[in-house]
Amino acid sequence: MPELLLQFEGISKSFFGVHALQDIAFVLPKGHLLGLIGENGAGKSTLMNILGGVLQPDRGGMRLRGQDYSPRNPAEATEAGVAFIHQELNLFTNLSIADNLFIDRLPRFGKSPFINKRAARTRTRQLLESLNLALAPDTLVDRLTPGERQLVEIAKALSTGAEIIIFDEPTTSLTAGETERLFAIIQDLRRQGKSMVYISHNLGNVLELVDEIVVLRDGRVVDQGPRDDFTIDTMISRMVGRDISQIFPSRQSVPADETLLEVRGLSQPGIVKDIDLTLHKTEVLGLFGLMGSGRTELARILFGLEPFERGQIVIDGVVCDGVSVRDSIRRGMAFVTENRREEGLLMEATIVDNVGLVALPTFASAPPARLLRARGLRLAVTRVAECMRIKSGPVHRTLAKNLSGGNQQKVVIGKWLMSRPTIFIMDEPTRGIDVGAKYEVYSIINDLAARGAGILLISSELEELVGMCDRIVVMSKGEVQGAFERDEFDRERILQAAFKGHQAHQRGGQ
């Protein structure tokens, strides 16, 4: 029986009278890797924030190595050997790797206030080497890829001598190769006797990686046990508390012949080249590509966020040579961004303010005053929130930052629904949200298509595109490498197209 490292003893926490956690109790043995799964809002993050000292429990406590452990802030947690790698990385992009690793305890010359930069560099180099990361300690974090940044975070955790490392959705912004590298490192750390908590919505990864699984639902532990007791299906059914017969809802419409959006020979040097694309009415068109294939950049060009040099964008038969975001919105286009926290949502604003943002002008009173009809706006937003099944308090009081990831995504989509667009560009709309919320987002997409909209669905999850789309266009290196109709969906061929242009450069790299 391995030594018990950490025990949760009846932890409860509520926010504004809503129970986020109730009587959480489980143990983390030394050297074990524990998968913590649950839908968004199940309480995973709250629990880990308590472990990491960010939040304090209302009732209950924790024991670390048999001792009472109740960190009042992240620094105390670090001191006790608990490191928390957040989903949004906590790195300072304007500083070097070495500065980032030691920002709270830079090595000094004796008792003087001066930093011993050589010592900092040497220790950084050692840590980076232990992770097989070939980077100079003085490199600015600004210059690193998301994958490299993730590994720097791990190096930071190791530099504090952490014995427990919490990973919160570590793979969302990593490429397949970077993910594998991360997993190899996690396995390595386990062999060294580190204990880890791994939170992810990617259940396949969880099953592949962890020793034990704890399932949270509505703030309670609903199941726990060794990994072998679980399959992806049982994990899902325990998480949502009901059986999901299908991950993808069935489509209710077929693509019409009418063209909504046509792209001809669109080029922007260094970004995309000769893109041809057609989106029909009631069609869900998938855009697949690896990270850095240019799919997000193409979406940004189509919506008018980035310029293009050559080519045409035709919307409803009208040619636009250059587009601005306002033109795009006026022509009935909507853009659900990949990064909802940074681009799609005003985190400090209420649901009404967020959802109403795009459609504000339509809720203005008669000129010249053009005052906002607040009640009308609130009613309209409430309707959208109900039809999107956004789970929240009153829409005019709940702030976006207090919503779970899935509900935030619904707010982003709801924002666009208010202006009744006909063309939706959705970039990774289900990233980082749980299975139940994914299903709801898929249903919303199907509904939109059935009502006559065209949807350009961008995703790096091929399963999602195969499950949802009428057609899939594959991009690589900024060019369209192939298009597949629904009856010729073949994962292998799609992936081959996505890797086109990659083999020559990085043979055997992954």
Partner: protein, 336 residues
């Protein structure tokens, strides 16, 4: 194709290097223009004047840089200069304070001023813009109440300090300025506090999670800024010998302009004291004196000055955008 790619890369790299050093290049450019316009500008005397007159604003701007790096702002430095000098002047006049203690008094008042700002921002959680706007009026008001808006004259001993030269060559204000720049540069680059200042300016939430005492770091920036504003007040008065009710008014904007011209971002986390703020402060003074030597119409001078500052800041914002664009990864390499 390999060669073409290489060339494109190196061209991009040169552009990045040029853009990263805009303050320096701008500095050289303006220097050359005035040099061509007026030979008098190129004399040693005019160099000395430029740096000497830049010194007090430079010292204040160094303090401002600390505050700006944490993504805050201190609007009260002008009033701080005024109040510090007023208190020192009155103490000398009415209480027989020995002249050599005058700078100490200025530093002490500046320190107090900085502490008030720090407490207002970190403990009372007033946003810096409003907090320091408040202390701007409090400082000015106190000074006016103490002096009844009568100009305060300083004894000759004070101006003698200002006129002293190190080794008989370098004017004392310049020495103090350079010393402050050196200390500040070491503090920013070589100490944990300096690095944490940059971290807080980059992402305060992340800084909290990294276990940095963000309140302490931000507060410390305001305290340093306050102390240096007090010192700036003394250096200025040591050159003038008298202060009237308008002393220091609007200097906060000169200090901000000097820091920003030197490449410090108003959004925090980016900037330096050396060479940044040093160049910025000297650049502003260079324009002022250059315009005089080039005999530009007196009434046109403020307009030209404003135009040059505007141009510099515009260049800076273009630079930032270009840098973002150039450092972005390219998905494909275009064939020539």
């Amino acid at each position: 194709m390999e060669a073409a790619v290489g060339m494109q890369k190196s061209r991009g790299k040169t552009l990045v290097i040029v853009l990263r050093h805009t303050p320096l290049i701008l500095f050289a450019l303006i220097f050359l223009i005035f040099g061509v316009l007026s030979p008098r500008f190129l004399s040693y005397q005019s160099f000395e004047n430029i740096v000497k007159q830049a010194s007090y604003i430079g010292i204040v701007a160094v303090g401002m840089t600390f505050v700006l790096l944490t993504a805050s702002i201190d609007l009260s430095v002008g009033s701080n200069m005024y109040l510090s000098a007023v208190v020192a002047g009155l103490l000398i006049k009415h209480y027989g304070l020995p002249v050599p203690l005058a700078p100490v008094v200025c530093l002490a008042v500046g320190l107090l001023f900085g502490l008030v700002n720090a407490l207002a921002v970190t403990k009372l959680r007033i946003i810096p813009f409003v907090a320091t706007l408040g202390t701007l009026w409090i400082g000015r008001g106190l000074g006016l109440w103490l002096t009844k808006s009568v100009p305060v004259e300083f004894p000759e001993g004070v101006t003698q300090i200002g006129a002293q030269r190190l080794f008989g060559i370098v004017p004392l204000p310049v020495v103090v300025f350079l010393l402050i720049v050196c200390c500040a540069a070491v503090l920013l680059r070589g100490t944990a506090f300096g690095r944490q200042l940059y971290a807080v300016g980059n992402d305060i939430e992340a800084a909290k999670k990294a276990g940095i005492n963000t309140a302490q770091v931000r507060g410390m920036a305001f305290v340093i800024c306050g102390v240096l504003a007090g010192l700036g007040g003394f250096i200025s008065v040591a050159q003038l010998g008298i202060i009237n009710a308008g002393f220091g008014e609007g200097r906060e904007f000169d200090a901000i302009a000097a820091a920003v011209l030197g490449g410090t971002s108003l959004f925090g986390g980016i900037g330096s004291v050396f060479p940044g703020t040093l160049l910025g402060a000297v650049l502003i003074q260079m324009v002022t004196i250059g315009l005089v030597s080039a005999q530009v119409d007196l009434y046109l001078q403020p307009l030209v000055q404003a135009g040059i500052i505007f141009l510099a800041v515009l260049l800076d914002s273009i630079r930032t955008r270009q840098l973002v664009r150039l450092s972005r990864r390219h998905i494909r390499i275009e064939e020539a």
